[in-house]
């Protein structure tokens, strides 16, 4: 066990954790940030996606020791029900959720995409989200929400 300091959503936290602990477990269990979800622990599905220095990464596959001194942003860091991020608002407007378990990854991956490409085509959105799995079949609404957010920006 080691004391690890990390900066998440603009706040510095100090946690007691094994250095090899996946960042996901620290975010969820130590910081009570429930946005990122455990989907596979293998980096295959994208449900645990967070931003590390602005890039979308799979927090199930990043050891917490690797993010010391780096900026981590979670879904909670984008916005809240009281003050949603434009992408979160677009997902609400398009009702782009069924069970919603994958949606963290969809929003975090799309947020990273929109920073690179402010006006992605539907094809570019599908390609950017191809590594994120949705089991409910919400794909069409998710791409519509990302398009909506891009157009609103």
């Amino acid at each position: 066990m080691a004391r690890i300091t990390l900066r998440v959503n603009g706040t510095t936290h100090s946690v007691e954790a094994d250095p090899d602990t996946p960042l996901l477990y620290v975010l969820r269990d130590d910081l009570a940030l429930n946005g990122p979800k455990f989907g596979c622990g293998l980096g295959q599905c994208g449900a645990c996606t967070v931003h590390l220095e602005g890039n979308a990464v799979r927090s199930c596959s990043v050891p917490v020791s690797a993010v010391v001194g780096k900026k981590v942003t979670t879904l909670e860091g984008l916005g809240s029900t009281a003050k949603p991020h434009p992408l979160q608002q677009a997902f609400i407007d398009e009702q782009a959720v069924q069970c919603g378990y994958c949606i963290n990854g969809m929003i975090m991956t799309s947020a990273a995409l929109l920073k690179q490409n402010t006006n992605p085509s539907e094809e570019q959105i599908r390609a950017a989200l191809a590594g994120n799995l949705c089991r409910c079949g919400t794909h069409q609404r998710i791409t519509a929400a990302v398009r909506r957010a891009a157009l609103a920006a």
Binding site: N34, C40, I92, C99, R126
Partner: protein, 745 residues
């Protein structure tokens, strides 16, 4: 929200209600809060509804929202019938201490059955409150009107009382089964696209899934199960696990084995460090001959599912006979989040926070596993990842209950990906044989079909005989399957004079088998609609027109015509003559089913591209006509129709559980892949609303028309019949090779 949660967490260890200070108990129901138990007697009105003095309505629903939006739709139904604003209504779902048992959430029944029961309760409540208001205000009930939960005397606005003024100690009366219901023409909430109440929380991380629920001093567990199918524990050596920081203990009872730790990561590491010697497993049948094996298995019973005229005699006289066999592979729910549950056992009381679709029947299942009386077990529903049937939620619930009972401390069990993909229940395999006969004019005169379906082990319509993993590991063998009503839609939905349909119920499956979205209907409709297409081709008819010719139901015709119109259907006989481009050929196919031959009507046109060299199929567009009667929330309907369509493209083209004789080898997303964004078509939908007609379910019907539509589109593109789901490139290439001589002939 944060303050509420903290207040709850402080007190939840003692399993008392933890509402934020100062607020009345009904003002905000906290996710997972263990409210005092109350009546759950279905006849008692107080079982269904509570009204606070602040006029807030709490609805107690035994049906749960599995991520489909029914939390919103059911609230719409209640708010409508009670004449209150939508945002006054809050839903408590699936808590065995406070909600009535409305049977499991499944079988496409949440709106049709669950909604009807809530509607009667709400109407009974409104009638009772009007009676009370009449007494209090000294007016005749006929002279009273209700406006947003306030009862007024017509023409005298000063004489009024709110529901909260009238509720006193509760209703203390029975639900009136014959209560007058509101006329659909007076609806102002039902039929509107009210946004789902759960979505803002779900897109911001504020929603509490069962995975997110925590108790003070909660420990974390991982369950250890054999990778070898059916193998029992020979010996366990946990010395290496004990050396891991944060390790608390190993739990072993019979063959049930788990590790408990202070953190999730320590539990994961301990589960990997523990050394287990496993015994011999149970051999699984060879996968490549599974359908032959399935047909040869002992049959528990054969039912005549549909009979009209004399099919064998009509076949003997037919001018043209067509014969074909169909198959549907073993698939799995593959929930995006592995199952999870939290449990606490204290002072003889077991509380389990569970994402089960069957919390009420789990009470009995857990009683058998723990030896506790059912009355000492409380299940509190919290949403999990979408389950689409009985996935691992129930097993994880049992795991958590058993561990909590052993350790006496709050514990969270999180399944790993392999647990969910490999060890959660599977849909059973399926084989189906057809023979049809046409007369000289191309009319279908005979339909003869045999379906080899898995036997459903029904005990009082509850899955009490289901072999939960923990039950089996404790040495409590259970007989078998809870697979749903697999005979449904074996009967065909067209007007054919001579029909013989039999279902042969195979006594035992290979895997633990459960219902997976649209169970039975998806396999049956795939085969029925594929074979109907074969008959259309034999009759030299356009497949859509052929279907219409054999239907006498205006609502059926309407959904077919809606799908055809969306697709710009071009009538033709035989294979698409367009040359395609390079190796790619294109086609369109149609499929129609009335769910259970009794409720929702749905038709789909699929457009596909087939690569003749690689065998790869791409569905480029789906056009769907859908009629579920009265729609409660049309956008909610559309969401389910789209989801059912897209999920089933994945099942049709890709999904198949893989195994060797020793083990299930589908363990993650590379070994059980599902469709990705880049694989999926656009879906165009026409929803036909039928205000005033019964409201039928929408979660399951769309799925059943997708495999047939895709198969028929592949035929249109290539002349090859795909009769075995999934349509993998290998199977497509085989079908193309088989079709080539026929096409030349």
């Amino acid at each position: 929200m944060r303050d509420d949660r903290r207040a709850f967490l402080k007190t939840a260890g003692a399993l008392v209600v933890g509402f934020s200070t100062g607020a009345p108990a009904w003002a905000k129901v906290l996710p997972g809060a263990v409210a005092p138990a109350k009546t759950v007697d279905k006849e008692a009105l107080d079982a269904w509804l509570a009204i606070g003095r602040d006029n807030r309505i709490t609805v107690y629903s035994g049906k749960v929202d599995l991520g489909t939006g029914t939390r919103t739709a059911l609230a719409q139904i209640v708010a409508e019938e009670l004449d209150v604003a939508f945002d006054r209504v809050e839903m408590v779902m699936g808590d065995t201490g406070t909600t009535p048992d409305q049977w499991i959430t499944g079988a496409n029944l949440t709106i049709a059955q669950g909604g009807s029961e809530l509607r009667r309760a709400a109407a009974s409540a409104r009638a009772a409150l009007i009676q009370r208001a009449a007494r209090r205000l000294g007016a005749a009930p006929a002279d009273l009107v209700v406006d947003e939960g306030v009862v007024r005397v017509k023409g005298d606005p000063s004489r009024r009382a709110s529901y909260g003024d009238l509720i006193e100690r509760g209703f203390e009366i029975k639900v009136d089964p014959k209560v007058a219901l509101k006329k659909p023409t007076d609806y102002r909430l039902v039929g509107r696209n009210i946004p789902r109440v759960d979505i803002p929380g779900k897109v911001t991380g504020e929603w509490t899934y069962v995975h997110d629920f925590r108790l003070p001093d909660m420990l974390h567990a991982r369950v250890i199960r054999s990778p070898i199918f059916g193998a029992r524990v020979v010996s366990v050596d946990d010395r290496a696990a004990r050396g891991i920081g944060g390790f608390v203990q190993t739990v072993r009872k019979g063959d049930f084995l788990a590790v408990v730790a202070r953190s999730e990561w320590a539990a994961v590491k301990a589960s990997r460090a523990i050394r287990v010697q496993w015994g011999e497993g149970t051999r699984l049948p060879e996968k490549n001959t599974v359908f032959q094996t399935w047909r040869a298995r002992p049959v528990a019973k054969t039912d005549s599912t549909q009979k009209a005229g004399d099919a064998p005699a009509a076949l003997a006289q037919a001018a043209r006979r067509v014969k074909a066999s169909y198959e549907f592979s073993v698939q799995t729910h593959a929930s995006i989040g592995p199952s999870c549950a939290v449990a606490h056992f204290k002072a003889g009381q077991l509380t389990v926070w569970s994402a089960s679709q069957a919390t009420h029947s789990m009470q009995t299942e857990l009683a058998a596993i723990t030896g506790l009386p059912a009355a000492a077990i409380r299940l509190v529903y919290l949403e999990g990842a979408g389950c689409y049937g009985r996935n691992g939620h129930e097993d994880a619930t049992a795991d958590a209950a058993l561990i909590a009972q052993q350790i006496g401390k709050p514990v969270r069990v999180q399944w790993m990906r392999e647990d969910e993909t490999a060890r959660a229940p599977k849909s059973p395999p399926r084989a189906m044989d057809f023979e049809g006969g046409l007369d000289a004019q191309g009319n279908v005169i005979a339909w003869n079909a045999d379906f080899w379906i898995a036997l459903n082990h029904i005990v009082a319509f509850k899955p009490l005989d289901f072999p939960l993993l923990a039950a089996t590991e404790l040495g409590q063998p259970k007989p078998g399957n809870w697979v749903g009503f697999l005979f449904q839609n074996a009967g065909m939905g067209y007007t054919v004079p001579n029909i013989r349909v039999e279902t042969h119920h195979v006594a035992e499956t290979f895997f633990r088998s459960s219902h997976l979205r649209s169970p039975g209907r998806i396999e049956n409709s795939f085969a029925n609609e594929g074979f109907m297409d074969e008959l259309a081709h034999a009759a030299q008819a356009d497949p859509a027109e052929f279907r219409l010719r054999n239907l006498k139901d205006a609502r059926a015709e309407a959904v077919i015509r809606a799908a055809m119109k969306l697709a710009g259907w071009q009538s033709r006989v035989g294979i698409n003559p367009a040359p395609g481009s390079g190796n790619i050929v294109r086609g369109r196919g149609i499929s129609y089913t009335r769910y259970n031959n009794a409720i929702t009507y749905v038709a789909a046109v699929a457009e596909v591209e087939v690569n003749r060299d690689s065998g790869a199929v791409r569905v480029t567009r789906l056009c769907i006509g859908h009629d579920c009667g009265q729609m409660i929330n049309p956008d909610g309907v559309a969401n389910q129709v789209q989801g059912g369509a897209l999920q089933t493209v994945s099942r049709t083209l890709i999904e198949e559980v893989q195994w060797t004789p020793e083990r299930v080898t589908s363990v993650d997303w590379t070994t059980y892949p599902i469709a990705r964004f880049t694989d999926l078509p656009t879906v165009d939908i026409e929803l036909i609303d039928r205000p005033g007609e019964p409201a039928w379910g929408v979660g399951e019907p769309t799925a059943v028309v997708i495999p047939g539509a895709i198969a028929n589109a592949i035929f249109d593109a290539t002349g090859a019949r795909l009769r075995s789901v999934p349509f993998t490139p290998d199977k497509v290439k085989l079908a193309l090779a088989a079709a080539a001589p026929a096409a030349r002939a």
